[in-house]
């Protein structure tokens, strides 16, 4: 997966993606929305709906999931 420079942190574990391995996190991401902002690692407010999800960072705004 290609990541932009702003995607520094892992949305699953919140750690720096340059440190350690995140293969397990990436697999987990198939079945859960991100919990941490990729730009600043803050915990996001996440709402899951029957066919989608939104995750909101207080600094970097909202990301919306593909409808499942």
């Amino acid at each position: 997966m290609t990541r932009t420079p702003s995607e520094r942190f892992c949305g699953h574990c919140g750690q720096d993606r340059a440190v350690g391995h995140h293969d397990r996190c990436d697999r987990a991401a198939l079945l859960e929305p991100p919990r941490h902002c990729a730009a600043c690692r803050r915990r996001m407010v996440v709402q899951v709906t029957p066919t989608g999800w939104t995750a909101r960072c207080s600094r970097h705004g909202e990301v919306t999931g593909e409808p499942v």
């Binding site: 079945l31 709402q47 899951v48 029957p50």
Partner: protein, 331 residues
């Protein structure tokens, strides 16, 4: 053929009497070589006593996170260092979620809140939400709001709540290893009040939480004693930060054996695939479970995690020639 399968064929399939706890334990101990035969029997039981139809439901979290309880499997407890943050859904969002659910062909929409029991703020939100959904969406409404008082049971019934979910979660003998902030008996009391009110009771639990096979059989037998209208069967999805976060995902064959066991305990109940099935069973297992005793599914996403695409489940039901139950038949 295994002796217990022969017994179950006569007792459950022919006579409609669920297996006893001791018999259920025998089923759970069946070797992998008997699994195919066991699933085939469980499927025959479900078709004979429940029919071909499958009930489809969507769920939504009205109030996420910040729960004061310590259910060790749950990422929404405020007592653990889970990354799940607290959030409330507003009424327009709730109505939109009901519409999303109805568009999938589901007949049930369950409103869930992560609470010990509903306070006045939550009851006010539920009251307004149900009124708004009833005005705009043709769907049955279920609720899952924790432990209730008799007054709350009566009020929810008066609002037109079709079914109330409150799981036992675990067998009585294992409950204290799963939850310490309330008791098994408190859970049973709410289930009992719901049943007596005339609302349909939805009551199930989780497996794969480190319980023994004896305790898994015990849970099935205790659910059978309670005799709920619906039993949602969840497989532990170990959540980061929870006390059960490091447990291994349940073996798929054990999960399928558990499905068949629950069906042989409760031949007439709606047995629903609930959380964790994607992780535990994958795509192939979804099919095996539907051919092994399951007759209801949660489509789409769960409360804090994601599920399969609704069309994947609906296509599978179509391929298996299992009709989706229509709304008027659930009323």
């Amino acid at each position: 053929m295994s002796h217990i399968i022969e017994v179950a064929r006569q007792q459950v399939l022919e006579e409609g009497r669920g297996l006893t706890e001791e018999q259920l334990l025998e089923v759970l101990r069946l070797p992998d070589e008997s699994l195919e035969e066991l699933l085939a029997l469980a499927h025959q039981v479900r078709v004979t006593w429940c029919g071909e139809e499958v009930e489809v439901e969507g769920i939504i979290s009205l109030k996420t996170g910040g729960c004061p309880e310590d259910c060790h499997f749950c990422s929404q407890s405020g007592q653990f260092t889970s990354p799940v943050r607290s959030v409330w859904l507003n009424i327009p969002e709730l109505v939109e979620a009901a519409k999303e659910t109805a568009r999938t062909g589901a007949t049930e929409f369950c409103i869930v809140a992560a609470v010990r029991g509903p306070d006045e703020r939550l009851m006010t939100q539920v009251r307004a939400g149900i009124k708004a959904i009833h005005a705009e969406v043709d769907i049955n409404i279920a609720c899952s709001l924790g432990m209730l008082t008799q007054e709350q049971v009566d009020e929810l019934k008066g609002m037109g709540v079709h079914r109330y979910n409150h799981n036992l979660e675990a067998a009585r003998s294992y409950f204290k290893d799963v939850v310490t902030t309330h008791s098994y008996e408190e859970r049973w009391a709410t289930c009992d009040m719901v049943k007596k009110s005339g609302m349909e009771l939805c009551c199930g639990g989780l497996v794969g939480m480190g319980e023994t096979l004896e305790q898994r059989a015990e849970l099935a037998a205790q659910l059978a004693e309670l005799d709920p209208h619906e039993v949602p069967l969840n497989f532990l999805n170990p959540r980061p930060g929870t006390p059960f976060g490091d447990l291994e995902v349940m073996d798929g064959r054990d999960a399928l054996r558990t499905i068949a066991t629950f069906r042989l305990a409760m031949p007439r109940t709606i047995l629903r695939y609930a959380g964790g099935r994607e992780l535990t069973l994958g795509d192939l297992g979804a099919r095996d479970g539907l051919m092994g005793g399951i007759n209801a599914v949660i489509v789409g996403n769960y409360l804090t995690t994601l599920g399969r695409k609704p069309e994947e489940d609906l296509d599978l039901l179509n391929e298996l020639k299992m009709p989706v139950r229509e709304l008027q038949k659930t009323l």
